[in-house]
């Protein structure tokens, strides 16, 4: 494998991680000022802030790997839908509180096991980012898992809402583990992680929490995938329009 191939693959690998954090953070931030009560509003907004902070580190590093002089802002604000490489589960509309909770729980559990493994990457920048991120992931997972139990094992209404959310989101979790050539190449050179291991740990955690929350894990009747290759749902365009409008109207604007 030539050095150039490796560099482009590493760029793709890092930008996927960065985009997942950025798009999830942008979506979660929609709760800012709209949370069910002020304490939860602050908690969700803080988590969104952690995700955007993680995206900044990863996109900055992606820009360095690419070597074309693009900054974190260039990558966040001046790419179009097809150039974003986040999983589709991140871009789905914010939905109700149950939907947000279920999405965060699935993603938080994934991030926790993913970054725990990525700490051992031979790429010292990624290992460093992973170590820093892991502490946040632990708190995020504790927060969303707690809410899964509260809603699942709560009232009839909360149980119904979280059940619906889990059923709607489950097909989108398939993509988290749908490894492609870049994932396999990065795992082979010990930069990336073993997605099979992450999947086994994720399944165990998800099954335990769903079980304790008196929720059924729905069978997958269909699956969604494609974010790794830049294939998205219609929702990402609207998200980017809102997120990027200021920089598109006034490029380079700072405050």
């Amino acid at each position: 494998m030539s050095g150039e191939t490796t560099r482009q693959e590493l760029f793709q690998y890092v930008i996927r991680l960065g985009d997942n954090a950025l798009i999830n953070g942008q979506r979660l931030a929609e709760w800012c000022g709209r949370g069910p009560f002020v304490e939860e509003d602050i908690a969700m907004t803080n988590i969104a802030l952690d995700l955007v902070g993680r995206a900044r580190m990863l996109l900055t590093y992606a820009g360095e790997v690419e070597g074309a002089g693009r900054t974190e802002d260039d990558l966040a604000y001046f790419r179009n839908e097809r150039e974003f490489r986040n999983f589709q589960i991140m871009e789905l509309p914010v939905g109700d509180f149950a939907f947000t909770t279920a999405r965060q729980f699935f993603v938080d559990a994934y991030d926790y096991f993913y970054y725990r493994a990525l700490q051992h990457s031979v790429d010292s920048t990624l290992a460093g980012i992973a170590a820093k991120t892991l502490k946040e992931c632990e708190y995020h997972l504790r927060h969303s898992a707690e809410w899964m139990l509260r809603l699942g094992d709560g009232t009839e209404q909360s149980h119904a809402k979280i059940s619906t959310a889990v059923a709607e989101l489950m097909p989108f979790t398939y993509e988290l583990f749908d490894a492609d050539g870049i994932d396999r190449a990065m795992q082979a050179n010990q930069i990336g992680v073993d997605l099979n291991t992450v999947e086994a740990l994720w399944n165990e955690k998800v099954n335990n929490v769903l079980d304790e929350a008196t929720l059924e894990r729905p069978e997958l009747k269909y699956t969604r995938s494609g974010g790794r290759q830049g294939l998205h749902s219609e929702h990402i365009g609207y998200l980017l329009a809102e997120m990027q409008s200021l920089q598109r109207a006034m490029p380079g604007q700072d405050w």
Partner: protein, 97 residues
Amino acid sequence: MPDKIGRLPLWEVFIRGKRGLDHKHAGSIHAADGEQALQYARDPYPRRNEGCSIWVVKSADIIASQFEDNDSLFDPAIDKMIYRHPTFYDVPEDLKL
């Protein structure tokens, strides 16, 4: 359980800034139970690197003295315990307290 207007129970938050110091009252928050109160206390109160321990206690569990009892609770102490605080020393002006 939420109260009549949908608020969760109130909890008082105490933060210990450093090992060896006392827990200090930091403020209060609403939460459904102790575990959630701990999680919510983490966001507004221990900023960045301060804090090594958090206590939360239900505000309703605190027994507070009443204002009208102040005379009987505190006034006798003023006469009896005048030497408790070092109020009889002249403190040099350049001494920082």
